[in-house]
Symmetry: D2
Subunit: 288 residues, 4 copies
Amino acid sequence: MVTPLLDNRTLDKIGLNRLIEHLIQGGVHGIFILGTTGEGTSLSYLLRKELIDLTCEMVGDRFPIMVGITDTAPEESIKLTTVAAAAGASAVVAAPPFYFGMSQSELFQYYWKLADQLPLPLFLYNMPSHTKINIAPETVKALSDHPNIFGLKDSSGNAVYFSSVLHMIKSNPSFTLMVGPEEMMASTILLGGHGGVNGGANMFPQLYVALYNAAVARDIELVLVLQEKVMDISQKIYSAGVSGSSYLQGLKTALSLLGICNDFIASPLVNFEAKEKEVLKSNLAQLP
Amino acid sequence: MVTPLLDNRTLDKIGLNRLIEHLIQGGVHGIFILGTTGEGTSLSYLLRKELIDLTCEMVGDRFPIMVGITDTAPEESIKLTTVAAAAGASAVVAAPPFYFGMSQSELFQYYWKLADQLPLPLFLYNMPSHTKINIAPETVKALSDHPNIFGLKDSSGNAVYFSSVLHMIKSNPSFTLMVGPEEMMASTILLGGHGGVNGGANMFPQLYVALYNAAVARDIELVLVLQEKVMDISQKIYSAGVSGSSYLQGLKTALSLLGICNDFIASPLVNFEAKEKEVLKSNLAQLP
Amino acid sequence: MVTPLLDNRTLDKIGLNRLIEHLIQGGVHGIFILGTTGEGTSLSYLLRKELIDLTCEMVGDRFPIMVGITDTAPEESIKLTTVAAAAGASAVVAAPPFYFGMSQSELFQYYWKLADQLPLPLFLYNMPSHTKINIAPETVKALSDHPNIFGLKDSSGNAVYFSSVLHMIKSNPSFTLMVGPEEMMASTILLGGHGGVNGGANMFPQLYVALYNAAVARDIELVLVLQEKVMDISQKIYSAGVSGSSYLQGLKTALSLLGICNDFIASPLVNFEAKEKEVLKSNLAQLP
Amino acid sequence: MVTPLLDNRTLDKIGLNRLIEHLIQGGVHGIFILGTTGEGTSLSYLLRKELIDLTCEMVGDRFPIMVGITDTAPEESIKLTTVAAAAGASAVVAAPPFYFGMSQSELFQYYWKLADQLPLPLFLYNMPSHTKINIAPETVKALSDHPNIFGLKDSSGNAVYFSSVLHMIKSNPSFTLMVGPEEMMASTILLGGHGGVNGGANMFPQLYVALYNAAVARDIELVLVLQEKVMDISQKIYSAGVSGSSYLQGLKTALSLLGICNDFIASPLVNFEAKEKEVLKSNLAQLP
């Protein structure tokens, strides 16, 4: 879930409520807040806490909420988990600490000790493009033995990696394996993956739920039809700009054009310029 | 196809013949020589020419032969293509030049001009881990307009990339899209890809052909069974060593243990040490 | 300056006081706390604030204190600067935000807006190995026009980069250019650089001050003698372990062996194991 | 030395002769052909042999000639060395093979075995931006024991790396350490390095020889004056374009404007466009 913002210090509360209702009506099975798409690392702790409280309050028990706690300081991750637990969230999600380079052994120790101290179950988050480190399949396998670690969200885009993890943890059916990139959700589900955590679902939740269902049902014909729509979104919305953050800029601009929430992007990233907004508007109109 | 060698200057001709017959009996639809698995860039030009001639002679017209011409010097790629054409090969395959960094525009110009001069059709080869550059989907799309460029082998492992290319060139049904990593062949075929160029087929061609057929037939149950075998091979054969070239070392050692060809690896890479060979032998015995 | 710790939540206050007095007696011209060597990003905000307050109190006006505010959330950098200003620090230091990838234009906007809002002068901090982005010489040049930005600490190790920045900002004599790596402090001063922010000065402040003075005086003979000692430290202390954090592990272990402060390293990094400590102890004894 | 070309298959022989005389009159102590600046990896073997023969013939015994033999196929490196030895070259230079990733142990074995087989002394060439691998200081140290390996050209730009190698091999005074980037030649000589292999010397050999002499004489005042000129060239000639090969494009365009040789750049790289040539022409006129 994106974080609707008015400026660097202020949530777009009306937009947040509209977005949550949009997602619920769209049939999604849960939400992940304060992830990469949620700009978690860009927000002050005060704002992160406010978002957790408000979201939990607005959602109630209508679906589970997962909260991103990725941080370079483990103590802050623990504090945020305490906030999330008090607010009623279901679980937390942590990518590796991303300032210092780490070995797989250091990474294992980090996650194991962190999971020991958290009052909520922990979901691993592989995001090498942003964290500079890949959680090796062997490390995922070893961490899956921890009673408080129950899954992995893989946003590497690497299908060989995902297949390796899937193969390694197949003896542990309670460990959940999801992918970030929506472009590969269907193919990974067909091969045994458990789902997707897809940014595009902010805009079109029904489409992604339908694609998920088609893949689970192994209805390849339908998968191909829906996959085309997903790829159209990927190329028309996420690639409308030239910056490395074109994905987030496109997504937030589209949400604003769709009347769902404000398009402000937290510093250090910046919004689309006027010209890019025009491109996006035109691209959005072309989506079937 | 691997290149069976006795030493840095000498082909293992008996092994080469045995390997080719093994592949033909295994039902593969064609072979790719002098690729990454074939150690093309490590061999002298004399040896590359010898391999092309011998292979074409041994295969005859039993299946098509594609020849790797990846080089930093375009003139050498052109000369090798002339050799391949004279010997009766069907097509050539080129990864980007890999010494100088290049922009997508420079890459486009390179491939376009190269294709103009080649006496055989050209297959693009995306291999960013070795060449330092990704052939962007937009560049593939633009190059697909060249009458002498007819396909792409993608060895990036990146499923988002592959889906993007697939989506972009769907209006050109004669452009062929294949993947290198066998771990993702089935999932890409299910989503519309056209096949795999898989190193493991050197050892067990029937398995990979069966997986291909199951994916084409959309028989997901069978795909899952065969995919497990493929993943077992990936983890037991390719990950038996600690070096970055463990894949090639494992593959060649296994081929030697299976009695197909010699396991010599051309310099600058080196063979498994005795201890690693023991691990591999034991792993190979565990394969079902 | 390293951050002396008893555990993840507790400062080693006695060690901190001993270290500060050691540095003052060693003749250093100022200190930089909460940098990379200070494990700033690994510490909770509570601990960072405590360290700022305590250090400012212990130092008084004996030398200037610079405080690291590197963060992915600009709001937290601003809050920490407010704490630093209230405690009496002289300036703050910020490396680029390091979660999202950024363009040079985004980076320029980030720094410019940040400097606008800070109650203390800002020192740029180039640390591409940890932040994934290089502050381009052109960006440094453009930022040097901001009245609240007064210098750059370059820890890239790249002498071509440093020379380029030096050349570009030579028309602005009030802009200060320092290097992080002590191995290149002398050579950069000889060519016009202004100093070093060297981790080794925690152990042997007099040596690094002497090297600085020799370079400023252009006494090459003395520079060569002292440079040898600095390189001995680099190879015997910082390379005693095998991990990527061997530098920090070696430095903190040496400080502990020298009786200055505790050697605890904050999670996510870990301390040397017993065997590595023995190597370091032996190496330390060999230093002249 | 750049390679003067008329097109991908033809040397600019008149330009080559003019360039060689220009370098001799400029006082350089030797030349390095077929390096990165010489586009060695882009040229056909036929052309490389022709260049070696012609250069050796034109130079005679007026200064030593070093020949780049960097290749992914060791056999080709050996063959080229035989050509160089027959033509009268003094030594050869090899960067690591750059297609397959390698470990330091594999790299050591590669160089050791290569040096065993070469009929000329071997100079190591560290060029991690192009080869994807750094020759670790420990590996240089180990290789310096080979009787046929006598030096290192470091083009990493990394001053910490260079200082580490310098420190490690100081017990072997016959091992020669030079840097590629001219921006750091003076500072490395001041600290004990032995010289530079500088692309800019193609244009202005006297300037770089003067800078070398000033650094050897420890005349810092003069070094600073000349270093400014070198940095002006770096920023006005090498950064006139936007491509990653702007350095080579700028250098060859300037040589053409100076009337020394043709500016053709071998494929896969491309020449400056007209607009960039105008920028360069104007920049060149501004050089003092």
